[in-house]
């Protein structure tokens, strides 16, 4: 083997193959460095996924984002749905995934703007087919990255009496919730280490009094048919607590913690019907009014969190004041 010169520290060595053809090898100064480990956020263009990606970046965590539409993040991002293999290939060519925050969720059905069967197909495609495709990449891998799944309290269905704990049987009562429950089962069975977070959304501004201008966000635009009569619906999700819970779950798993299922949020999930009720608006058909209160004991025991939302009506009034006191298109932050 002879060594020839190349510029800029590159080295060329020649090997003459048995068939007479020669192979030239060029090397950088050292062998390939390990790829940088990143937290992968799927659904980085969604309401929660985008906020999570931003929070991780602000916290100095290298992030790679997977987004179906451009997410405008200052992080390496790859366009593509979570189930789209070329998107993963492009991402994993450059990075190692240390943890996957799987935030890809179908926007909640925008109240009758699409046929229900079409909406059901889309929910199953997003929640189940894409999740399966994503997980299969590591199905034979002993060193698969841990997965944090953003799920929803909707998997419990409507419950009476309150509150529901993580051990409560699931009674999903829509295609959206059924497919999300199926995604939970998939993650639990296929991802060796996982955290499933069932988010209880809360009505009201966050604890700094901020409300998100989600009308500017594509996710809300998708749901626009539903949002218009209920301006506070998405504006008032307690985003910070959900994001903090996701980040803690990521640290928990990256630090070697065992798999877990947790209720997170601030204690209340409100259906569109319940919200309409609280706002004194006509209930949007076809969802019946219902509410759900989480048993947060487990979350509290695990992370020392106290539920912050004791009263839906009071929060609804506060959030309505907050929303009405702001210009309609004021940017978040």
């Amino acid at each position: 083997m002879s060594t020839g010169g190349a510029e800029d520290g590159a080295d060329a060595a020649v090997w003459v193959r048995p068939d007479g053809r020669s192979v030239r090898y060029y090397r950088l100064g050292e062998l390939l460095p390990p790829k940088p480990a990143v937290a992968v956020v799927t659904g980085a263009d969604t309401y929660v996924g985008r906020a999570l990606a931003q929070a991780l970046i602000s916290a100095g965590q290298p992030v790679a984002a997977l987004a179906a539409v451009p997410a405008d993040l200052s992080a390496p991002s790859v366009l593509g749905r979570a189930g789209f293999h070329p998107a993963w290939e492009a991402m994993l060519a450059a990075h190692d995934a240390s943890v996957i925050f799987h935030c890809t969720r179908r926007p909640f059905p925008p109240g009758g703007t699409r046929p229900a069967r079409r909406e059901a197909a889309l929910a199953w495609e997003t929640h189940v087919a894409d999740t399966l495709e994503m997980l299969r990449r590591w199905e034979r891998d002993d060193d698969a990255p841990p997965v944090v799944l953003l799920s929803s309290a909707a998997v419990y269905g409507a419950y009476d009496p309150h509150p529901v704990s993580e051990r409560t049987a699931l009674h999903p009562d829509s295609a959206w919730a059924e497919s999300l429950a199926a995604a939970e089962a998939l993650v639990a069975k296929v991802a060796p280490r996982h955290a499933i977070l069932r988010v209880f959304e809360v009505v009201g501004p966050d604890d700094r009094g901020r409300v998100a201008d989600s009308r500017a966000h594509p996710w809300t635009r998708l749901a626009a048919g539903f949002v218009e009569p209920l301006p506070a619906m998405w504006d008032c999700v307690a985003l910070d607590e959900v994001v903090a819970a996701l980040m803690r779950a990521g640290r928990h798993l990256a630090g070697g913690g065992p798999s877990l299922v947790l209720n997170v949020g601030s204690g209340i999930a409100a259906s569109p019907g319940k919200l309409a009720d609280a706002f004194g608006l006509p209930a949007p058909p076809p969802q019946p009014a219902r509410g759900l209160v989480a048993d947060m004991a487990c979350m509290q025991a695990t992370w020392g969190w106290a539920p912050a939302a004791p009263n839906l009506g009071a929060l609804a009034r506060a959030s309505r004041r907050a929303v009405q006191g702001r210009p309609a298109e004021a940017p978040h932050d």
Binding site: Y26, P76, L79, G250, W303
Partner: protein, 312 residues
């Protein structure tokens, strides 16, 4: 058996390489990939970042040459996503091999190129490009020489016939107003140089990075890894170097095919105005400039954070 056949109507050469029918058409899996390191692979077991070897199924071989440039030992890599130093190394290999082939008496013209993606005709997924040493002057080059003969260099006045996609101190990335393929890009050095070998180290570094950005911008624009033809025009002493990217993508996995007009008459037809292509590419390239490959491995676990085990 390789033979050159002349088209009597145009005086253009066509190369016939019938052994190529036997080449592997797909890479069934990484273990069977001929470009992944392994005892029976084309690249053997020696560690490398970039490897070059004569094509096992060449279209040209004395006269002429056909070489394969494997960009990385990693099957999942892509030129657009290599580290900047690794991207530069690929360019250094291109210039090294181009210069070596150009010196041969049986080589008239050198083309460094990549068929990116199976839909572009790549038969092996492993990231790689090729170098042809043509034993003749290929038709497009001959035509460009004839048209440009005796007039001022058109690539020195690239603003006159292109729209800017991205600007850099040593290079321009431009959209030709006369796009032959949708979202076609040309990467042109500001300095009038005719070969990769004539570039300075600074020009190589910046050009290599801009081309990586262009690849990633295409992926961003399409939402998936875009299939494209990339080629390096090295007209030599008198001419002006340029790299061309010709995607076959029209978006959403719709493909631009070369059809009757292109194949029979050599007359190209596109349906995307250059202005719109430039606008969309500018945005995608700007977004990609925000992307810098993360330099340090960082674990999401914060060591100061107390660890709690799930207790429920």
């Amino acid at each position: 058996m390789i033979s050159l056949v002349a088209d009597v109507l145009t005086d253009e050469w066509v190369s016939l390489a019938d052994a190529r029918q036997e080449r592997p058409l797909t890479s069934p899996g990484e273990s069977a990939c001929p470009f992944c390191p392994g005892p029976r692979s084309e690249v053997g077991l020696t560690p490398f970042h970039v490897a070059v070897f004569p094509n096992r199924y060449p279209v040209f071989d004395h006269p002429g040459a056909a070489e394969v440039v494997v960009y990385s030992p990693r099957h999942q890599d892509d030129y657009g996503h290599l580290s900047p130093a690794h991207g530069r190394l690929v360019w250094q290999v291109w210039r090294d091999r181009s210069a070596a082939l150009a010196e041969r008496t049986d080589v008239e013209s050198v083309l460094v190129f990549e068929n990116r993606g199976r839909r572009m005709g790549a038969t092996i997924d492993h990231p790689h490009g090729q170098i042809y040493g043509y034993p003749y002057v290929p038709p497009r080059l001959a035509h460009e020489r004839q048209v440009g003969h005796g007039s001022a260099c058109r690539l020195c006045r690239v603003d006159a016939w292109t729209l800017p996609a991205a600007e850099a101190p040593h290079w321009r990335l431009v959209v030709p107003r006369a796009m032959r393929m949708p979202y076609q890009l040309a990467l042109v050095p500001r300095r009038h140089v005719g070969t990769l070998a004539a570039l300075s180290q600074e020009e190589v570094a910046e050009g290599a990075h801009l081309l990586q950005r262009a690849y990633r911008a295409y992926d961003r624009l399409m939402g998936y890894r875009a299939a494209l033809a990339m080629g390096v025009h090295q007209p030599g002493r008198a001419g002006h170097l340029r790299l061309e990217c010709l995607p076959i993508e029209r978006g959403q996995l719709r493909q631009k095919y070369l059809a009757s007009s292109e194949l029979i008459m050599g007359a190209f037809v596109t349906d995307i105005p250059a202005e719109r292509a430039a606008e969309r590419l500018q945005a995608a390239l700007a977004a990609e400039s925000l992307m810098s490959p993360a330099s340090s491995a960082h674990h999401p676990g914060d060591p100061k954070e107390p660890r709690h085990d799930h207790s429920c």
